[in-house]
């Protein structure tokens, strides 16, 4: 099946529609799940909830219905601080500083595994 939106003959193929919203909406939360003991929490998605307690309950229902989680974190999306992609990708060009990489050092075979 396709989730592309079919445009019927005579219909507008305009891509964007907007609607005015009158009411206050539930804030957004980012969800982090530790799939099992021994590994870190990983970002899995986001959801809306009125407060942290409801966000946790919603996250449990939405993201761990088949036992995918040993631990859950929720953080208000507005509390996340981030670099722009370029601010981090331009920081180090690995080709420019090869001496930082272990594989650039040649160790003779007779020394064995190092």
């Amino acid at each position: 099946m396709t989730y592309e939106v079919p445009v019927a003959p005579g219909e507008s193929a305009e891509l964007e529609e907007t609607a005015d919203l009158a009411t206050e909406v539930w804030p957004m939360w980012e969800v982090f799940v530790r799939a099992r003991r021994g590994i870190s929490h990983v970002h899995i998605g986001s959801l809306h909830a009125a407060d942290a307690e409801a966000a946790l309950q919603n996250a449990r229902d939405v993201y761990t219905r088949r036992g995918e989680g040993a631990s859950l974190w929720v953080v208000r999306s507005s509390e996340i601080n981030a670099f722009e992609p370029d601010d981090i990708s331009d920081y180090v060009d690995a080709n420019e500083k090869p001496y930082r990489l272990a594989t650039t050092y040649e160790i003779p075979d007779e020394v064995g595994h190092m």
């Binding site: 079919p6 998605g45 009125a50 992609p85």
Partner: protein
């Protein structure tokens, strides 16, 4: 390198575009439109099956159906969450759906008339959805592709439980088998319509393929689905309602008949058997839930006040 060149390099390298990246405005709009329609399909898709929860023949089947409908709600939420990374608000998408400005998959505008429809929907409708969604796991937009990976895992349960339920019906009484055949007769063509218009009539396909949002064309996916499904119908001992259906040795594919495109466009435009009911029901549920949403906000504000 310009922003647009950077975008093209990421696409060419089969890397993913992520939310904070620069992207062409139409790439963003196309994704919002598609992911919203996909999310709405999951949410509206709860209605035809919800219709049978209270009438499931056994407690086991009832539990399965409830789990499946709950999954559809979850899929809708993963997808709204993916769309929101593109700068659109979930409530905005909901409102556009309620106003009829956003669409959802036409398949959910057909009624579920018998218990056999539950098995048939799992087998055919979820089967068609998997065919498309497996392709979408390779979509160029990261959050959409990741949502698809989760969804595909769960859809597999949907399809298998449906087919297994049909195996039971088809090995039951003649009446039960006839009920399964009737369901296949009604759902076969709408399922093929799920893949959309012919490639030659598909407005956005070319651009979507270029942007790697879509990786396989409508007609190719439809063929893939027919080839996969016909042997499954044979196993059930059911007859696919298409006189032109036959194996083509030369092509290595099944040939099949032409879809009734008049019906296809009528349902897309809002004139299917259930279009009005589905939206009316959705809007009613939304309006009746307004007090819960408001109360939760008031409760949160009150608790916050108590702490500080």
């Amino acid at each position: 390198m310009t922003l647009e060149e950077r975008f093209d390099v990421i696409l060419a390298a089969e890397d993913k575009i992520e939310p904070a990246d620069w992207m062409p405005d139409d790439y963003r709009k196309t994704l919002i439109r598609q992911i919203a329609q996909h999310a709405h399909s999951e949410i509206i898709g709860m209605q035809p099956e919800g219709n049978w929860i209270s009438r499931a023949p056994t407690l086991h089947r009832k539990a399965i159906l409830m789990a499946k409908v709950q999954d559809e709600a979850g899929h809708g939420l993963y997808l709204y969450s993916a769309a929101e990374t593109l700068g659109v608000d979930r409530d905005q998408m909901q409102t556009l759906l309620h106003q009829g400005k956003h669409k959802y998959s036409s398949i959910f505008n057909y009624p579920t008339l018998s218990w056999a429809d539950m098995g048939t929907i799992g087998w055919l409708v979820d089967g068609a959805a998997i065919t498309n969604q497996v392709m979408l796991t390779r979509c160029s937009y990261g959050p959409y592709a990741r949502a698809m990976v989760r969804i595909c895992k769960e859809e597999s349960f949907h399809q298998r439980q449906g087919y297994e339920s049909l195996i039971r019906l088809c090995s039951g009484s003649p009446e039960q088998k006839a009920m399964a055949q009737d369901a296949l007769n009604r759902w076969w063509w709408p399922s093929l319509m799920m893949f959309g218009p012919h490639d030659t009539d598909s407005t956005h396909t070319e651009q979507s393929m270029e942007w790697k949002i879509k990786r396989v064309s409508n007609d190719d996916l439809r063929q893939q689905f027919v080839d996969m499904t016909v042997p499954q119908a044979d196993y059930l001992g059911l007859v696919v309602p298409d006189r032109d259906l036959r194996w083509n040795e030369e092509r290595g594919h099944y040939d099949f008949g032409e879809i009734d495109w008049e019906e296809f466009w009528a349902v897309v435009k809002g004139n299917g058997p259930m279009n009005r009911d589905r939206i009316e029901h959705k809007v009613r549920a939304w309006d009746e839930g307004a007090w819960v949403r408001e109360a939760a906000l008031a409760h949160a504000a009150k608790k916050e006040g108590a702490i500080t």
